[in-house]
C-alpha cells in the first residue's frame, strides 16, 4: 500500500504541492500589499523628527478637525443606519405580504453603487436643481439645498449603508427565537422590555458586526465626498488634498496609517465582541 509504505514521503510531497498552490497569492500579497504598506509606514515617519507627522496630525487644527468631523459623521451615520435597519429589518423578517421580496430587492439593490454615484444621487435629492430645491421653490420661493453641506454627506453615507446593514439585520432577525419573546410576555414583560432585553440582545452580534462595517466604510469613503465637492474635509479628502495639492506625501501617509488603524481596530473589536458571527469566514 502506498499509504503505509511511503506515507511520509507522500505527505511531504503533498505539503509542497499545497505551498505551490498558495504561492501565487503569497507573491501577490507580499509584493503588492505588504511591501507597499511597509513603504507607506516608513514614509509616514519621514520628516524633521521621528513621529512628527503623527504629532502634527493629532495636534494641528485642520488635521484634528478633519479627524474629529469624520469620526462624528461616521458614528452618527452608523447609529441612524442601525436604527432604520432594525425597524425595517424586523418588520420584513416577521411579516409576510405580497410584494415583500420585491421590497427587499428595492431596498438592497444600491448595495453595489460606488460612492461617486451616491454623491450624484444626493445632488439629485438636495442639489441646486434637486428635489428639495423644487420643493422649496413651491413652498417659500427659495431653493432648498443640503447636498453640499455635511447634511449631504450624512444622507449619502446613510444611503450606501442601509443595504448592507439591512441584509445582515434581516438574516439575524429571521433566526431569532420567537419562544423567548413568548416566555418574556407570559412573565408580564412590557413591549419595551421585550424589545430591549430579548430582541435587541438577540440581534446584538449582527448589529455589532454590521455597525462596525458601516462605521469603517464611512470613515474610508471617498467617492461621495469627491462627487459632492463639499468644503467639509473628511479624512480621505484631507489625505487626497495633502497628497495631490500639498505634495506632502509623508503627511498623507501618516494620515492614511491613522485611518487604516482606526478602521481595522473597530472591525477587529467588533469581531471579538460579536463572536463567530463576524469571523472572516462567516
Amino acid at each position: 500500500m502506498k499509504y503505509t509504505l511511503s506515507g511520509r514521503l507522500l505527505r511531504g510531497e503533498q505539503s509542497a504541492r499545497l505551498l505551490l498552490l498558495l504561492l501565487p497569492v503569497l507573491i501577490i500579497s507580499a509584493a503588492f500589499f505588504l511591501l507597499p504598506l511597509a513603504r507607506l509606514l516608513v514614509i509616514s515617519f519621514e520628516g524633521d523628527q521621528w513621529g512628527a507627522n503623527y504629532w502634527q496630525a493629532l495636534t494641528e487644527a485642520r488635521y484634528l478637525s478633519s479627524l474629529v468631523d469624520t469620526l462624528l459623521l461616521s458614528v452618527s451615520v452608523t447609529l441612524v443606519t442601525l436604527a432604520i435597519s432594525v425597524v425595517c429589518g424586523l418588520f420584513l423578517a416577521r411579516n409576510e405580504f405580497a410584494g415583500k421580496s420585491l421590497l427587499v430587492s428595492l431596498l438592497t439593490f444600491p448595495l453595489a453603487f460606488p460612492g461617486v454615484v451616491i454623491g450624484f444621487l444626493v445632488i439629485m435629492l438636495g442639489g441646486r436643481q434637486g428635489l428639495s430645491a423644487e420643493l422649496g421653490l413651491m413652498i417659500d420661493g427659495s431653493r432648498w439645498t443640503f447636498a453640499y453641506s455635511i447634511a449631504g454627506l450624512f444622507v449619502g453615507y446613510v444611503y450606501f449603508s442601509i443595504p448592507r446593514v439591512l441584509l445582515t439585520v434581516i438574516a439575524a432577525a429571521e433566526k431569532l427565537d420567537y419562544q423567548l419573546e413568548e416566555a418574556a410576555r407570559s412573565f408580564g414583560a412590557s413591549r419595551y422590555r421585550i424589545f430591549r432585553d430579548v430582541i435587541l440582545t438577540g440581534l446584538k452580534p449582527a448589529l455589532l458586526a454590521s455597525g462596525a462595517i458601516c462605521f469603517a466604510t464611512s470613515m474610508g469613503a471617498f467617492g461621495t465626498a469627491f462627487a459632492l465637492a463639499t468644503d467639509i474635509n473628511v479624512l480621505p479628502m484631507t489625505i487626497y488634498t495633502e497628497f495631490t495639492l500639498g505634495a506632502n506625501i509623508a503627511m498623507a501617509a501618516a494620515l492614511s496609517i491613522l485611518l487604516g488603524l482606526i478602521t481595522w481596530l473597530v472591525l477587529f473589536l467588533a469581531r471579538m465582541l460579536s463572536g463567530a458571527d463576524a469571523s472572516p469566514a462567516a
Binding site: L22, F32, P36, A112, V117, L259, F268
Partner: protein
C-alpha cells in the same frame, strides 16, 4: 396574523425608506433621457445624451469591462487554489496568512492606493498601464473570492470526498477539478459575482491609480459630475446602472438559489463586508 396600527406604522416607515432609496435613482434615470431637465420631462424624451456619453466616454466602458474580467480571471486562477489550501491547512501560519489576505478589506482603498503609488509609482511603464489598476482591484477583491470559497469548503466535508476519490485512484489534479471545484461551485459563483460587481464600481483605489489614458467608468463618472451638464451626468449614470443590472440580478438569483438548497451548516458568506464606496 392580525394587522395592528403598529403594523401599518412599520410598513409606512419601510416604504418611506424604500422611496428614499428609489426616488433619486429614478430621477437620475429620467434626467438622462430628458431633452432638458430644467424644463422637465415635457421638453421631450431623447437618447441624445446617451449617445453623446457613448461618443465621449466609450473607452471607459471598455476598460471597465476589461478590468473586471481580468480581475475575475486572476481571482479564479490564484484565489480558488489558495482558498483550498487555507481550508485544508490547520497550521497557524495558514491562519496568519488568511488574516493578512483579508486585511485589505479592513483598510480604506485610498490608503492601499497611496501605498501602491509610493512603492511602484516610480516605475513608469507600470504606473501608466492599466495593469496598475488591475493590481489594485485584485488586492481589493481577492479577499472576497477566497472567503466565499473557504466558507463553502468549511461547510462540506471535502476531505472525505477527496479521500473517496483518491481511493478510487484519482490523482491530485483530477480530485481538484472533478471533486473540489464542482463542490464549491456556489462559493465560486458568489465570489465571482462579488469580484465583478466590486471591480466595475471601484472608485477609491482607481481614482488614485488611474492616468488620463486609463480611465474607468466610475472615474469617468466623477469627471462628468464635475464638468458636464446634468443630463450627460445622468445619462452616464444610466449606462453604468445598465451595466450593473445583470450583475445585481445574478447576485439576487444566486442568493435565492443558495438559500433554497442550503444545508443546515452552510452559511452564505455575507456579501456585505466592505462595499464599494
Amino acid at each position: 396574523m392580525k394587522r395592528t396600527p403598529s403594523y401599518y406604522l412599520q410598513l409606512g416607515f419601510t416604504l418611506l425608506i424604500c422611496a428614499f432609496m428609489l426616488v433619486p435613482v429614478l430621477m437620475s434615470v429620467t434626467a438622462g433621457v430628458t431633452e432638458n431637465y430644467f424644463k422637465g420631462i415635457s421638453s421631450g424624451l431623447t437618447l441624445r445624451w446617451v449617445q453623446e456619453v457613448l461618443s465621449i466616454y466609450s473607452d471607459t466602458l471598455w476598460l471597465t469591462l476589461k478590468l473586471a474580467l481580468a480581475t475575475l480571471a486572476v481571482n479564479l486562477l490564484v484565489g480558488v487554489p489558495a482558498a483550498y489550501v487555507l481550508a485544508r491547512s490547520k497550521s497557524s501560519w495558514a491562519r496568519l496568512f488568511e488574516e493578512i489576505l483579508v486585511l485589505p478589506v479592513a483598510i480604506p482603498g485610498l490608503a492601499i492606493a497611496l501605498a501602491l503609488i509610493i512603492a511602484y509609482g516610480g516605475v513608469q511603464d507600470l504606473r501608466t498601464s492599466w495593469l496598475f489598476i488591475l493590481i489594485g482591484h485584485v488586492i481589493y477583491t481577492l479577499p472576497f473570492m477566497v472567503r466565499a470559497v473557504v466558507a463553502v469548503l468549511h461547510s462540506i466535508d471535502f476531505r472525505q470526498l477527496e479521500e473517496g476519490a483518491s481511493s478510487l485512484g484519482a490523482g491530485f489534479l483530477r480530485r481538484f477539478f472533478d471533486v473540489i471545484v464542482p463542490n464549491c461551485r456556489g462559493g465560486i459563483v458568489s465570489g465571482a459575482l462579488m469580484t465583478l460587481t466590486l471591480s466595475v464600481g471601484e472608485f477609491n483605489l482607481t481614482w488614485m491609480l488611474h492616468t488620463p489614458l486609463t480611465k474607468t467608468l466610475p472615474v469617468g463618472l466623477a469627471d462628468a459630475y464635475a464638468s458636464m451638464r446634468l443630463e450627460i451626468s445622468s445619462a452616464y449614470t444610466l449606462i453604468f446602472l445598465v451595466m450593473l443590472l445583470p450583475l445585481l440580478l445574478a447576485t439576487q438569483w444566486n442568493g435565492h438559489r443558495r438559500k433554497a438548497q442550503a444545508r443546515p451548516a452552510v452559511q452564505t458568506p455575507a456579501p456585505v463586508a466592505k462595499g464599494v464606496t
